[in-house]
């Protein structure tokens, strides 16, 4: 059964059509990987899934856990369990990182009809996870992403992911710019959340991360469409031949 299904999705940014009839289905509990050349529309796809306002969906459907969410508000999609780790996480001055995270965690708990986490419980869990993924504790008390290094921002995305425990996780270039230790830490976080139910969509340019996070499917996205879907063996072929052999004739 698929957790997230994208059917014939067409989307524009401004006047420019970026997604041109894209089909993709994420299976329950599986790790899907998307690879594709720069500018192919990978980030656009991930933003379309979570409802970014820059992206104007003109045709097609996004089905999440059996519900059509194509026109749903972004916060509702998030509360329903969709998470995007951004390629470029934005900085928000004056908003304390831990305070923000607690607000997000409690918004989700309220939505699910659960009691809010009290400060002590929240802090304990947050600190534990931060340690696990090698996020410096002082970053928890700084303004959200402000002045964080590239790697620190990515680790902070993983912290949020692990605290929010979403059902479908999209990671847009979570591995770009990471040193080897950071890559291991981030992979550890992802693997920890693999529970046979949660689905992942990893957007990457490098096979490196796939040494740590074992994928189930590889999709190639070119010019706004998924042009090929296969097993992990596809990566090797890609590394050898590049994208040109997948171009639609």
């Amino acid at each position: 059964m698929s957790k997230l299904e994208i059917k014939n999705l067409k989307a524009k940014i401004g006047d420019k059509e970026i997604l041109k009839g894209l089909d993709l289905a994420l299976e329950e509990g599986k790790v899907h990987v998307i690879m594709g050349p720069n500018g192919a529309g990978k980030s656009t796809l991930s933003k379309a899934i979570v409802g970014h306002y820059d992206i104007n969906v003109t045709d097609g459907k996004i089905i999440f856990k059996g519900k059509d969410i194509t026109n749903e508000e972004p916060e509702i999609r998030a509360l329903e369990g969709l998470f995007l780790s951004f390629q470029h996480p934005v900085e928000i001055p004056g908003v304390n990182n831990a305070y923000f995270l607690r607000t997000a965690v409690n918004a989700k708990r309220r939505y699910e009809g659960k009691e809010e986490l009290n400060a002590a419980e929240f802090l304990r869990e947050m600190r534990e996870i931060a340690k696990e993924i090698g996020l410096k504790p002082e970053l928890l008390n700084r303004s959200l992403n402000v002045g964080f290094s590239g790697g620190e921002k990515k680790r902070n995305e993983v912290l949020q992911m692990m605290m929010l425990k979403p059902d479908v996780i999209i990671l847009d270039e979570i591995d770009s710019g990471l040193d080897i230790d950071a890559l291991k830490d981030v992979s550890k976080g992802i693997n920890k959340l693999r529970d046979g139910k949660r689905s992942f969509l990893i957007i990457t340019h490098y096979s490196r991360i796939l040494d740590y996070v074992k994928p189930d499917y590889i999709h190639i996205l070119m010019d706004g469409k998924v042009v090929k879907t296969a097993g992990p063996e596809l990566v090797e072929k890609l590394e050898k031949e590049g994208y040109s052999s997948f171009e639609e004739k």
């Binding site: 820059d54 509360l79 934005v90 928000i92 908003v95 923000f100 997000a104 939505y111 929010l164």
Partner: protein, 479 residues
Amino acid sequence: MAQEEVNKAISGEYKLGFEIDIEEDKVPPGLNEDIIRFISKKKNEPEWMTELRLKAYRKWLTMEEPHWAKLDYEPIDYQAISYYAAPKKGVDSLDEVDPKILEAYNKLGIPLEEQKQLAGVKVAVDAVVDSVSVKTTYQEELKKLGIIFCSISEAIRDYPELVKKYMFSVVPMNDNFFAALNSAVFTDGTFVYIPKGVRCPMELSTYFRINAINTGQFERTLIIADEGSYVSYNEGCSAPMRDENQLHAAVVELIALKDAEIKYSTIQNWYPGDEEGRGGIYNFVTKRGLCEGENSKISWTQVETGSSITWKYPSCILKGDNSVGEFYSVAITTLAQQADTGTKMIHIGKNTTSTIISKGISAMKGQNTYRGLVKFYSSAKGARNYSECDSLLIGDKCGAHTFPYLESKDSEGQIEHEATTTKISDEQLFYLRQRGISEEDAVSMIVHGFCKEVFNQLPMEYAVEARALLNLTLEGSVG
């Protein structure tokens, strides 16, 4: 993005716009020497004060309303304003305050009974309705320490020497058009004197309420901190919702002697008018502090959320060596509000330092201008200033403008200036919403983050109020 939603989210209702249903004594509209004599007489003022008022009035007649600020408003008809209005009951005896006024102040969250405390903390309050002070709390307790906390009318009668010495000493009666008008017709306000070496044990505050229709409010506040003393003073205000504009032209003078410190905080929440710019308070205010003695310090913190027009530049004259001036400001203009606000830091003494942190937030059709002057006299060897002026825009119909001026006759002085203008970006909003935070909460989180440095300067009880007020201003019908 859905800009309308954000607009809705930030145009919270004005919740303090009720009228207090009381009988008031009111003079007919118009201004002339007879009216000034009438006000002076109503307040049982000595002859010298009446003469000073008349002198100010005659100066005012020769002056012109200034129009250099970036403000656009209908001309003010000074003859259409009533210059005196007072609740009929309870003016002469403090114990006979009209229950309706007590009720109204309760509704505003300002306790006028001493046993009721604000957030569990003792705060002494001077309550001013239109032209008169109706009640001042904790006076007896403060008197034991030699602290004078009373209405300015009482001070003129009971402490003429202090008033003669200090009134007009920081803001001369002909300082500017609005100050001159105030000097002629000022009605009530607060007087504070902290004696040598005394640290005022509680927050002092004044709550101004405009109630009567077609009247102006012209309060005058004078605070003197004698050598080595400390006081934290707070001012709040509100007004009913009306379609006509009402004029508020206040003057505040602060004097800090050697080693003294005055912390002055304002939460300004006059009625802002409506979306089309109908109604609202015209707020033309002159606030200035003199750091007279060595090592003295004056700190202004203001949170400006109300008024349709705000013209206000709380300033510090740093005369004493090593004296310190600070200005922390959050000014929010939404609806059709316009604010032209900032500060002047005048460095005269050696090693004087000043800090300016200004945060302007504009939304809807709001126009927000920062105007600041830093001036170094040649005597101000080793003076330093740090200025930071940040503007936050929400939407694209609003505006932010920054006019920092610098005059330096001393090449040794150091000035550091930083200015930024940012838009609440769709990316920031989206990031928070992607984490499940509603749009309204996301806007509020970003704006609070932007104001944090300034709110941190407010006394705790007032910081809570300021945050709540900001939320109210941001509150709307989203979701």
